[in-house]
């Protein structure tokens, strides 16, 4: 895959410099890019965890042991954030030094009305039959995929379409909440 849309990474990773701001893309040696290869991410994650596994540090000094544990837990955190398409978008904006408003943002009444309808539908879950439940799951899945498409497109623009990105991220969080609210 040619990374024509990848952003330039900062020359030095603050992560390894002990800086306060980690760049998780760089941690996994991935281009600063919204559309990432999830298989590659998983491979890099496993590789990093192998490198910092406590078993490899039993004879090392305490400092190195502690550093390995720290890296291991940061790798877990980083993997979780990059795997999820919403938190990945938020993190990418941080890496690009772009601030986005995630609270107190005005949402369109139509969008909120639709959220209400989703919730109302989910409330009737116990009275739905299996195919209706499947349909609801699929609809929410599709809704989520729409946002991946929108965000991928917005991040591919130069300069990036910041206003749309902010809007999609804010809206998408509601859909994610709905999906976690779905009974199994």
């Amino acid at each position: 895959m040619v990374d024509e849309y990848a952003f330039e990474n900062p020359p030095q990773s603050p992560f390894f410099k002990g800086g306060s701001f980690p760049n998780f893309f760089q941690l996994f040696n991935l281009p600063l890019h919204y559309a990432i290869d999830l298989n590659q991410l998983a491979d890099r994650y496993r590789e990093l965890q192998r490198q910092v596994h406590p078993d490899r540090f039993v004879r090392a000094d305490v400092q190195a042991q502690e550093r390995a544990i720290e890296l291991s837990s940061q790798a877990n955190e980083a993997y979780k954030i990059l795997k999820n398409p919403v938190s990945r978008a938020i993190h990418l904006m941080e890496c690009l030094n772009e601030s986005i408003q995630l609270e107190g943002k005005k949402l369109s009444p139509d969008f909120l009305m639709k959220q209400m309808e989703w919730h109302e539908k989910i409330e009737t879950w116990s009275s739905l039959n299996e195919s209706q439940r499947d349909q609801l799951r699929r609809l929410l899945q599709q809704e989520g995929e729409n946002y991946i498409g929108q965000l991928t497109a917005a991040f591919a623009q130069r300069p990036i379409d910041k206003i749309s990105i902010e809007k999609w991220i804010n809206e998408w969080q509601f859909i994610e909440k709905l999906r976690t609210d779905l009974p199994d």
């Binding site: 995630l102 609270e103 107190g104 943002k105 949402l107 009444p109 969008f111 909120l112 009305m113 959220q115 209400m116 919730h119 991220i169 804010n170 809206e171 969080q173 509601f174 994610e176 909440k177 709905l178």
Partner: protein
């Protein structure tokens, strides 16, 4: 984190849950949401010819504090004029429900819902803010 008695009371016995006809000229509908927690709140007021809020209904999908905050404000809104309703501030809700700092945003959401419902009512009557 422990919820206060008042939050639990509103959560277990929410007041004024339901909806009013949003097409009704006397009804103002406020819709707000908090992306960070995915909470959605609908607050509706019905204003009589004397400009007094005679009814208020809400429906909230969210945490206990968000439900309690919206339930509480529907109680407060009834019998108030529009002007008085705009005086309700999120700190009043925080104080009444003893909300902890992490739940202050729920009270902000309820205050925004009041403003949004009033704005909707006023726009139906040709008043723009």
């Amino acid at each position: 984190m422990a919820y206060s008695e008042k939050v639990i009371d509103h959560y277990e016995n929410p007041r004024n849950v339901g909806s009013l006809d949003k097409e009704d000229k006397q009804v103002g509908t406020g819709m707000v949401g908090a992306p960070a927690c995915g909470d959605v709140m609908r607050l509706q007021i019905k204003v009589n010819d004397d400009g007094i809020i005679e009814d208020a209904k809400f429906k909230t999908y969210g945490c206990g504090s968000a439900i309690a905050s919206s339930s509480l404000v529907t109680e407060w809104l009834k019998g108030k004029s529009i002007d008085e309703a705009t005086q309700i501030k999120n700190v009043d809700i925080v104080n009444e429900l003893a909300l902890p700092p992490v739940k202050i945003h729920c009270s902000v959401l309820a205050e925004d819902a009041i403003k949004s419902a009033i704005a909707d009512y006023q726009s139906k009557h040709g008043i723009n803010n």
